[in-house]
């Protein structure tokens, strides 16, 4: 099966568009496989996603059960990562925290990617005053450091996961809009777009059916590269007490409540910090490798 797929995909003379497309995908995958850092990243991300999905099966304890007689325990056989200040099992909380983090990241991406894509494609396609107006708005949002703007937004709403997601989304869309606009500008004057226009397709149809799909691949790479920055911003908000609120097992919030034990029971705040580091490092490794694979001249 594998060998057959390999020869079929790598065929020098593909007989269908599908075969050629799979050939390209397979070659990209082979390139990625040759990049050790990228594969390390992919492995860690897969483990992280599996952890989040199967948290209830993998957890050794209930993440909310308090065991006050056994608080701040060092890692041992019963509690693999020790216990926190209320005697809750840190290992189980890390597992459930993966759900919160993954959920926040997905929510941000789902909110941000379509907005960025729509704004960028509309600005690029119509040009003129529409372009100027939309890009000026984009510039305003780009004129703040991300965390500072997110903090101000959360303050205006109220601290919590939903506000944090909304705030990060509000600060994250401008680069995507810029990217989608640049991509749109390169295709908007091409012949096939002119042909659609001649057949009577409306501007909206052209933008959303024909231009937006062409902008999607580069957007995906950009999102992967951005993932670690989203995770770190979410964790930083949690750490500053403006993101997920206790008793949520969000990793940043776990560090925020445990940071006062750093000098005596250092592992309590340090274990969630290591989790954040591993996941964001993994996304950076993968993103870096993807950029090499998909854009050979960029390196």
């Amino acid at each position: 099966m594998n060998a057959a797929f390999r020869t079929w995909a790598l065929s020098e003379a593909p007989s269908s568009r599908r075969q050629a497309a799979w050939g390209n995908r397979y070659r990209a995958w082979l390139n990625l496989k040759g990049n050790p850092l990228g594969m390390i990243g992919l492995t860690i991300i897969s483990i992280f996603i599996l952890m989040a999905i199967f948290a209830p099966l993998l957890a050794t304890h209930d993440p909310a059960t308090q065991e006050l007689a056994n608080r701040l325990a060092a890692p041992n056989a019963a509690h693999w990562f020790g216990t926190d200040e209320l005697g809750r099992d840190v290992f189980s909380r890390i597992l459930y925290g993966a759900r919160v983090t993954l959920g926040m990241v997905i929510a941000v991406v789902v909110l941000v990617a379509p907005i960025g894509l729509a704004v960028g494609c509309i600005a690029g396609y119509f040009g003129g005053i529409v372009d100027t107006a939309l890009m000026r708005i984009t510039d305003i949002f780009l004129a703040f450091p991300r965390l500072v703007l997110a903090l101000a937004f959360v303050a205006a709403l109220k601290p919590g996961i939903e506000s944090a997601v909304l705030a990060i989304a509000l600060t994250a869309w401008p680069p995507y809009a810029r990217l989608a606009r640049a991509e749109t500008l390169t295709v908007r004057n091409s012949d096939f777009i002119a042909a659609y226009r001649l057949t009577g397709a409306s501007s909206w149809r052209i933008i959303f059916r024909h231009i937006a799909p062409l902008c999607t691949p580069s957007l995906i790479v950009r999102v992967t590269l951005d993932m670690s920055s989203i995770i770190i911003t979410a964790a930083s908000l949690g750490f500053l007490g403006m993101g997920a609120q206790p008793p949520s097992p969000e990793w940043g919030a776990m560090i925020a409540t445990a940071k006062r034990f750093i000098f005596e029971q250092w592992w309590v705040p340090m274990i969630p910090a290591i989790a954040i580091l591993l996941v964001s490092l993994a996304f950076n490794f993968l993103g870096d490798a993807l950029r090499d694979v998909l854009d050979p001249k960029g390196n």
Binding site: L37, R136, I137, D139, I140, F141, A143, F144, P145, R146, L147, V148, L149, L151, A152, F153, V154, A155, A156, L157, K158, S228, S229, I232, A235, S236, F239, L240, G241, M242, G252, I255, K259, I262, F263, W266, P269, M270, A273, I276, L277, S280, L281, F283, N284, F285, D288
Partner: protein, 327 residues
Amino acid sequence: MLSSVILTLFGLTVLTFLIGRVMPVDPVIAAVGDNAPEDVIIRARAEMGLDQPLPIQFLHYLNQLAHGDFGMSVLTKNPVATDIARFFPATFELATAALLLSIVIGIPLGVWAAVRQGSITDQAIRVLCLAGHSVPVFMLSMISLLIFYSALGIAPGPGRQDIIYDGMIEPVTGLLSIDTLIAGDLDAFWDALTHMAQPVIILAYFSMAYIARMTRAFMIDALKGEYVITARAKGLTGLKVVWSHAFPTVAVQLITVIALTYAGLLEGAVVTETVFAWPGIGQYLTTSLMNADMNPVVGSTLLIGFIYVGLNLLADILYRLLDPRVQ
């Protein structure tokens, strides 16, 4: 160019104004209390200008800003402008020292990686830089305090100076490292330096990662230039070609990178200052946030936004001045 900058600044002002107006707590109730009688609330609302329509309120806000008035802080009981003037030098000191350190280390590292492209050195520098993009600032800050302050005892704890020097140094520039020198107090100078060391090195690591990566990318392009091959063919040594032929062409691009890095340092400073109890604008911002004190939040956010735009403009101008190809 200038008109677009002015438009962006105007937009920043509108955005911060709106952020300040949609807060969950009614500022009038916050000022007069829950149990105030109806007529007091109405009078207070009129006095604070909050009974006017939003556009009028915005004009009023603009007028205040033009006079350098950011409103009062409920928490410190000072005008926000006074607070910012007091806290900003500490952040400036931190970010500038970090920037200088990251330039001195980041550029040679990037050049080195580019010269040895594909080697073990290059890979090691790459991992070092990627790690710099991935470690949360607060994590490094905590590890650093744990090792150098708690375990080894060689670094001072959080804060900007030792308690015994508190109030001893006459503030001239607001930068403690310079003020202590002006005062001629070498012990206090040393104390200020050791307190700066941890937050500065941690912040510098993050900007260093970015500068080194960009330097590497630019240098790889530059080293492919025909003039580099010519210089090599003429028999110049490797180091001379790299530093006096290839590097100057890259230096102009690096200015933009450095300006952006400096802006990014402001963001890092918000978190670092919280961990190290560094009395700067970042700590002021987070403390005000915790207490739902909106005027300082809006004021510091606006200030950081203006600095950000200013740095971008500066980078643009320098680029145009220094690169003869840009018209």
